[in-house]
């Protein structure tokens, strides 16, 4: 089987747009690596360079320890699932799946066996004689997957394969893709801008921002220890609250000049950003002093009950924050709410946005 290794991979379009700026990623054999990031950050470009659909400006791409920079897409032994599926509209499902094998000159009976096996796995057998336009969105998605798996390639590449499905179907297919990938054990690279998809699918998560890798790691590690404010605000929903602070000898000063107690937190003189997840806050019952936590006074701007929990939107020191509380919200719009951030749940970032590990 195959590992995939990217070393200092760069992509410059024309000679001005640097879409990918020196990326290093090592993907182990059989792992599912998810590239996530905002629109335009270079995910697709990177994936297409692995596929051989886009030339590599600089650096090397290795598949199974062999440099593939100069190989065409057909020679890299990869298969790809596209966002719009890219099924051949004039071919039946069967022929769509068989086309790549035929081009490789595989004998007919073998092709037939492979196609039928793949169809079985994906429950497509009864659809083999249909054309793409006679299929539902979810079925087309499956055919696109089928076309990838019949090839039995070294690497699967997915470019936002679920973004054209409705929310419910997307959830189902996400689980199916994960299971299928486990079952087949094929190394995969999966591009998405949906952080939920990224979190649930990834063995290795790569968070990208404007052409560079911000952080690589296991999804939960990244969730728990985001390397930068960018990652912090991108992973998790609702995103982590970020509040700018500076320090003087009396404590911390928020953006609008409000003083709060430092509670033993050391903040660089250049200022810092403190981060805390909406679900990590405790609502103080009265005005009692809580030990070992930062206390913030929140002016409530609005409340969104969603059933099992409620989101309280408010401002602290001139910056917006969200608090998640279980069940019904204790406060209403216009109220003041005191919240406590337990020290161990507090994230601290420098003025440059980089994480400052706890002392």
């Amino acid at each position: 089987m195959a590992n995939v290794e990217l070393t200092n991979v760069r992509k410059v379009y024309g000679n001005s747009v640097e879409a990918v700026k020196g990326v290093n990623i090592a993907i182990e054999d059989g792992a599912l690596c998810v590239l996530v990031g905002p629109s335009g950050c270079g995910k697709s470009t990177l994936l297409r360079m692995i596929a051989g659909l886009e030339s590599i400006t600089d650096g090397t791409v290795k598949i199974e320890n062999a440099v593939v920079n100069n190989l065409g897409p057909a020679e890299r032994d990869i298969a790809m699932v596209f966002q719009n599926y890219a099924l051949y509209p004039h071919m039946k499902v069967y022929d769509n799946m068989a086309y790549g094998l035929r081009n490789r000159g595989m004998p007919k009976d073998q092709i037939d066996k492979r196609v039928r096996e793949a169809a079985q796995t994906l429950e497509l057998t009864h659809l083999l004689e249909r054309r793409p336009k006679e299929l539902s969105g979810g079925q087309r998605q499956r055919v696109a997957m089928g076309r990838a798996i019949v090839r039995n390639p070294k690497v699967f590449l997915f470019d936002e394969p679920l973004s054209n499905l409705d929310a419910k179907l997307r959830g189902q297919m996400r689980v199916e893709i994960k299971n299928l990938q486990r079952q087949l054990g094929v190394t995969s690279v999966y591009v998405t801008h949906d952080q939920l998809e990224a979190m649930t699918l990834a063995d290795t998560l790569v968070v990208m921002n404007s052409g560079s890798v911000e952080q690589i790691g296991a999804p939960l590690d990244i969730y728990e220890k985001p390397a930068s404010t960018f990652v912090a605000s991108f992973i998790g929903a609702p995103p982590m609250n970020l509040v700018h602070v500076t320090a003087d000898n009396t404590g911390l000063i928020l953006k609008d000049g409000t003083h709060i107690g430092a509670e033993g937190l050391t903040v660089p003189t250049t200022g810092a950003v403190i981060g805390f997840r909406p679900e990590d806050l405790e609502v103080a019952a009265g005005h009692e002093k809580h030990i070992g936590g930062l206390q913030l006074d929140l002016k409530v701007l609005g409340v969104e009950p969603v059933g099992a929990e409620s989101y309280v939107y408010g401002v602290v020191g001139g910056e917006r924050v969200v608090v998640r509380v279980a069940g019904r919200s204790p406060s209403q719009t216009g109220d003041h709410l005191r919240v406590i951030i337990p020290k161990e749940k507090l994230h601290l970032f420098g003025a440059d946005g980089k994480r400052i590990p706890p002392a």
Binding site: R48, A51, G52, L53, G72, P73, A74, I78, A79, M80, F82, Q83, N84, Y85, A86, L87, Y88, P89, H90, Y99, G100, N103, R104, R147
Partner: protein, 282 residues
């Protein structure tokens, strides 16, 4: 749906029927004339029902070795016309599908220049360059040849533009999927692009067949010999009102023979033709 009144609909039918009569009458009249004897034709008014000289006239025109057009039979003229219409239709489609393929699916220096060079030919119909074109044809020895009759008409900006427009609607991902599936430019063309263009090709075929069949100025210029000309030009040569010997009944037959094949093509391929025509000209 607004239910318009039955009287309005009735009037609509009447108007349409009158319209059809206007549109069909000249053709019907010629058909009627083609079944009359020369004497009957020369003595108007003609009866509105076909006469009883159908077999006589048609076999005379087709097999009678009619000497009216400088010793050339109608079969020869029909053959020339079919060659011309088919060659132009097929050649034009082939040539323009290839150049549209190059322009849309490849990037190469000079691409836009070539595109404009093709595009500008829209503005250079034969009519605006009659004499020099004739001279080029003479210099190349192409007068009275099938090559001369067809080849110069095979370059077409319209067909190229049509294919280009259609190709641009083909999603890029489809090309990439094909490349991942191991298809090079030729395989992609043959396995994916051609099958997807089927309807466009069919529509264009009808339009271009008619275009080739109905050419007038071009064969008029390019042919001197009667046995190399088309049936339309042949007909023109047969008609002479000054000449008392004009065998009008045979002229009528020839006329019908010149009209029927393209009408059949249009009728039989109506579905593609109508859609193609309306889409082509957008």
């Amino acid at each position: 749906m607004i239910q318009n009144n039955p009287i309005g609909r009735f009037i609509a039918h009447i108007i349409l029927i009158i319209g059809i009569m206007i549109v069909a009458f000249p053709i019907y009249y010629t058909f009627v004339a083609s079944t009359q004897s020369l004497q009957e034709i020369m003595r108007p008014p003609l009866s509105l029902l076909p006469g009883n000289h159908f077999w006589e006239n048609y076999s005379a025109a087709l097999f009678g070795g009619v000497g009216r057009i400088g010793g050339v039979g109608v079969d020869r003229l029909l053959f020339n016309t079919i060659v011309m219409a088919l060659a132009i239709a097929v050649g034009k489609i082939a040539i323009s599908i290839l150049s549209a393929y190059a322009i849309v699916f490849f990037r190469f220096p000079g691409r836009m220049i070539f595109f404009w060079l093709i595009f500008i030919t829209l503005m250079l119909p034969v009519e605006v360059r009659i004499l020099p074109t004739y001279k080029v044809m003479v210099d190349l020895g192409l007068i009275d040849t099938y090559t001369g009759l067809t080849l110069p008409l095979m370059a077409s900006a319209t067909a190229t533009l049509l294919f280009r427009q259609f190709f641009m609607t083909i999603p890029g991902e489809l090309v990439e999927a094909a490349r991942v599936d191991g298809a090079g430019p030729w395989r992609f063309f043959k396995d994916i692009l051609l099958p997807l263009s089927k309807t466009n090709i069919a529509a264009l075929f009808v339009i271009l067949f008619i275009y080739g069949w109905t050419q007038y100025l071009w064969p008029l210029l390019m042919t001197n010999r009667n046995d190399m000309t088309t049936i339309v030009i042949g007909l023109r040569k047969m008609i002479s009102f000054a000449d008392a010997d004009t065998e009008w009944h045979l002229v009528m037959v020839t006329c019908i023979l010149a009209i029927v094949p393209p009408i059949l093509v249009v009728m039989l391929m109506q579905r593609w033709f109508v859609r193609g025509l309306v889409e082509t000209e957008k």
